[in-house]
Symmetry: C7
Subunit: 95 residues, 7 copies
């Protein structure tokens, strides 16, 4: 079973504690808006610009992404925490 996100939406799966990159990106407690790591599961066909052009998204399946704490809608799929976000909620790709 799968969800196919629409347009500029992206389905991501939250990383579990033990999956989060060691020694790497840590969210400080004092940060008001904490970015969160997740893996991209599926992406929409692209963002529809005002000009009518459809622009392919800059993230792809498998990318590890950072996003702000309050973006997106939570959904649980087969027991795992997922989120559906817009591409604009993605801050960056972890490489």
């Amino acid at each position: 079973m799968a969800i196919r996100p629409l347009h500029d939406r992206i389905l991501v799966k939250r990383l579990k504690e033990e999956e989060i990159t060691k020694g790497g990106i840590i969210i400080p407690d004092t940060a008001k808006e904490k970015p969160i790591e997740a893996k991209v599961v599926a992406v929409g066909t692209g963002r529809i610009l005002d000009s009518g052009e459809v622009r392919a998204l800059a993230v792809k399946k498998g990318d590890l992404v950072l996003f702000g704490k309050y973006g997106g809608t939570e959904v649980k799929i087969d027991g795992d925490d997922h989120l559906i976000l817009r591409e604009d909620d993605i801050l960056g790709i972890i490489e």
Copy 2:
């Protein structure tokens, strides 16, 4: 009797408890904004872009869709719970 949604609006029928995909998408209680499953009953002719172009919708009759909890307007048709949403309220298609 039927409702024909205008432009980028979509008429969906809420799934009853027993119809919701088993073992699949579950809305966690702690989620502030819970996505909800529904079946598309009818779609409008398309979204009118700023350029004047009419863009056909990405969902079609029969699609099973996820949408945010607070989107749309509730309407009861022949005893069943329906909602009229904008395409932009649809988070993704369940496949």
Copy 3:
């Protein structure tokens, strides 16, 4: 005496209790935003798009329409309840 709505505005006449389609569309009491049925009496010449194009409205005189509870401006004409709405307030056409 008549009102000619401007641009993308639409004049509708509320249906009386006994006119509302039987066994059909019922507004559940628990709905926060109740759609309401009405008959289109007159429509404007069209919506002015950003491009300057005038786009003819998708509803026409005689259509039975659904709209959100808080849309439009109430006006009483010859003793009957009417509303002046924008096309964008119309959720769908009842067929």
Copy 4:
């Protein structure tokens, strides 16, 4: 002495009680947003669209118009109540 409204603005003169069309349009007391009748005294040269095009207004001097209660700015000219509105505040023309 006269006021020449700018661009998409319109100068209207409120109708006095005895001038309001008999048996016609009545504003119900329960309406939250009451439309009001007035006569157009002067109109601006047109609305400036994003494209730079100037679009002539759809109302003209002498038209009897309906507008929402909270639109416009009140001004008294030679003892009579007037309002300066934008064309977009005009709901329709009474014919």
Copy 5:
């Protein structure tokens, strides 16, 4: 000493009580948003439209204008009350 307003801004000088047109435009006390009379002292080079076009303003030095009470920024020049407004705050020209 002079102020040259930028783009679509306009410098106006408030009229003193005795200069206000007699028997003419009076602001009723009950009006929530009172238009005010002033004389145009200087105008900007024009409004920059989204298209990049610069559109010359519709008011010119010497015009007597009406504007809403809450528009603009007050500034005193050589002892006289002035205001810097945007052209869009101008309701009309008094002729």
Copy 6:
């Protein structure tokens, strides 16, 4: 050491009390939004319009400008009070 403002931003240096033009522009105490005088120290390369065009700014280094009290971000450079503003916060140029 210098700051190069980006795009439509402008770096200005507040005038000290004794530098403010005598007998000239005075900010009345009763004004809610007081314009302030400052000298332009550096300007960005221009405003990016929706069309993608970069439009050079209308103010230049050395100009004496007026701006609204609440615009911009304060920064102290080499002991002097400066502000970084957008061109749109500038009300006019003092000549």
Copy 7:
């Protein structure tokens, strides 16, 4: 390990106290919105304009930038405080 910012986003590393330019830019305590210094670590591919054009950013890796206090999302990478900002949050480049 690195973060690649998307589109018009920029990854910056806050300067430590001892790195901040001496005798230079000081943030006054009374400033409500304090600009902050940081070094650009990585930039996105560019801002997507309404026209569909992608516009390369005006800042590059290594630039020392000033930004408003409340912009961006905090993230700690390898023990150092970083922020992910949009180019529009950058006030200027320190030279």
